[in-house]
Symmetry: C2
Subunit: 385 residues, 2 copies
């Protein structure tokens, strides 16, 4: 290959699972998809309506490179209402085409080649790739099943070197569905490193839980969020990053150069997501349904023989211990796909410490979850005989 | 600043002009905008209709990371019809949120830190910044006014070192509005370096001209294009890059990681742009209007005293020699803004060899162009008295 930079950037295994599933579907197989982390819900109507109005009104031109002002103000308002963050300056909000490109420019603004960023193991598979692209180095800190896959601040401290620039946190987390407790967030904030806080699953919390924003604990942070998960807007590609005051200019320069602006009608849609009174009701309905699915999935997975030491209370994932069935999550995932026709994601996709686990996504209908788990049960039990 | 990478990434002067213009507007001034390179036209209705249909149909989910298949096929078809490029594999097309992020991942796939890319001076202000972000090095080759600001292949050869990885071409060009002749494209293709060809202004050509795709001359290239300019779709953020077969996987990996996919309804809109029978008529009307404005603007600029040695026949820019009025294009642009209330872009924004020039954009109504140039004439003539 031509470029060293991309050598370490791997495709996700979940994509390989999905591609193989689609091949089987073309051959006529009926596949249940529990692998992809995407809401099955359609985007609520008031949001779609706002985009349609924008199109009719001719909002088809570039916007301000940071995003339309009303949207950035609404985001600040949202962080005030939900987390009590006061006087957040809308000029610190950079609206991007999904939260993914926001990681790229925030990492780019902070990390030099050779710098280190601390990631949990397991973690979202993209994080290390942003670092690799910039020739920075991901440093992994194991998080443990019996600890709800939370960062242990002492372990972070052990991993810090003079190259460490930042710590990435993600609560609720992909792939584990777990939250980080407030006291641990506090301890992490006190380390005086930069914190990248991926808050994309905020709002998707159950059982009376509440996710805290890192902004409640420190200003030395970049906060990533977006509309994909909570508002079922994955295909709109709209996210944002809240950056520290003195990073606004370099991040904005990169946004101007690399993206110019985000999609204009999608920004109007996002504004409706945060401000239209009917949207909150729709979101509550979705959250209730996710919670029902979550409970059902946890119960059934345990019945089948998967181990779930602590119940996940956020996002839409269950990260289940499958060591009873196999030590090799990659092989097990493909075995289940080929034999039970259910797509699941191998834990190894999220790091070496995810080996032996499978990620099950409950952003799918209760019927399909029931059918998928039934098939998995039948297959695994026939196999162990 | 925290990061060396961003030190060289500057904001565009055109943005400073625009921001100052907006300040003046807030104070009640009536500003004529000839600075920003964006079609004044609204996106044609059949294109908007396709997006609205997609929204109603619930196409609000992630698409394939390369883009929806129909769109990639239509892009291949478009390159066959317009340039005779046969059997282009749709899997070589990567659809992105505007062509800007396409540059980022294509540069990222090819360029290691320290590698060199040859750029024309002047050139589009973003090109060097993609290189800077990757800690690669832009190497400038002057292009000359009396040569229609075309690359001279001999000069490129002189600039080649053992670090040279690629040559960036852009025909029709921003900021000059000029095309590169076929024989020069041929000569550049024969240099056996990678060619990045920015074809975003293709279709916007006048006076019987035709822009050639670099794919007519070589396969050792990355071709960038998008819907912003020709279809008046800037705010949709939809572009693409056609990559060599063996770069599909690394570029796709980056696209997956950094963007996931492009906006789903915008992809349907783009498909309509290429395939809906009414769109071609709308585009022809826009091109006719640009051409009228172009002729008018060239005539008036010459009358005012700007020098235009060779007539630009593409894009929507006139890059006029303003040395008669000032050697300092930055000062002159702000002087014109403050005194004549017309926004223009200083040539220095596009490189040292653009000094002494001003870029005038004719993507604005004939009325406003007339008014703006009238004001500039009155101001400059009063000034020289």
């Amino acid at each position: 290959m031509e470029c060293k930079r991309t050598e370490h950037i791997k495709s996700f295994i979940v994509m390989d699972v999905l591609e193989r599933a689609q091949e089987l579907e073309k051959q006529g197989a009926d596949i249940v998809h529990l692998e992809v982390g995407e809401p099955d819900f359609d985007t609520p109507w008031p949001i779609k309506g706002a985009a349609i109005k924008a199109l009719i009104d001719g909002e088809t031109h570039y916007t301000h490179s940071l995003g339309i002002r009303e949207l950035r103000e609404a985001i600040c308002e949202y962080y005030e209402q939900n987390y009590g963050i006061k006087n957040l300056n809308p000029d610190r909000v950079v609206v991007t085409s999904g939260s993914s490109p926001a990681f790229l420019i925030a990492f780019g603004a902070l990390m030099n080649a050779g710098d280190e960023i601390i990631l949990s193991n397991p973690c979202y598979a993209c994080y290390p790739n942003f670092a690799h692209f910039l020739q920075a180095r991901p440093v992994y800190v194991n998080v443990e099943e019996d600890d709800g896959f939370q960062f242990q601040p002492e372990r972070i401290k052990e991993a810090i070197t003079n190259k460490t620039k930042a710590i990435m946190i993600n609560s609720p987390a992909n792939p584990t569905g777990h939250l980080i407790d407030a006291d641990r967030l506090q301890a992490i904030a006190e380390m005086d490193l930069w914190i990248f806080s991926d808050e994309i699953y905020h709002g998707l919390v159950y059982d009376g839980q509440k996710a805290h924003s890192i902004l409640e604990f420190t200003d030395k942070c970049f906060v990533f969020n977006g509309f994909s998960k909570l508002f079922a807007m994955t295909g709109w590609r709209l996210g944002y990053v809240i950056v520290p005051e003195n990073f606004v200019r370099p991040v904005q320069c990169m946004a101007q150069n690399f993206f110019i602006s985000a999609n204009a009608p999608a920004q109007r849609a996002a504004l409706a997501a945060l401000t239209h009174p009917m949207v909150a009701q729709e979101v509550n309905k979705m959250v209730d349904m996710y919670d029902k699915r979550r409970k059902f999935m946890i119960k059934r997975l345990k019945e089948i023989g998967f181990k779930i030491v602590r119940e996940p209370k956020g996002a839409f994932y269950v990260f289940a211990n499958a060591k009873e069935f196999s030590q090799n999550s990659f092989e097990l995932a493909f075995e289940i796909l080929e034999n039970a026709h259910v797509g699941v994601t191998p834990g190894i996709d999220f790091g070496s410490n995810g080996e032996g686990f499978l990620r099950f996504c409950y952003a799918n209908s209760l019927d399909l979850i029931e059918r998928g788990l039934q098939r998995i049960e039948e297959y695994l039990h026939s196999r162990t005989k």
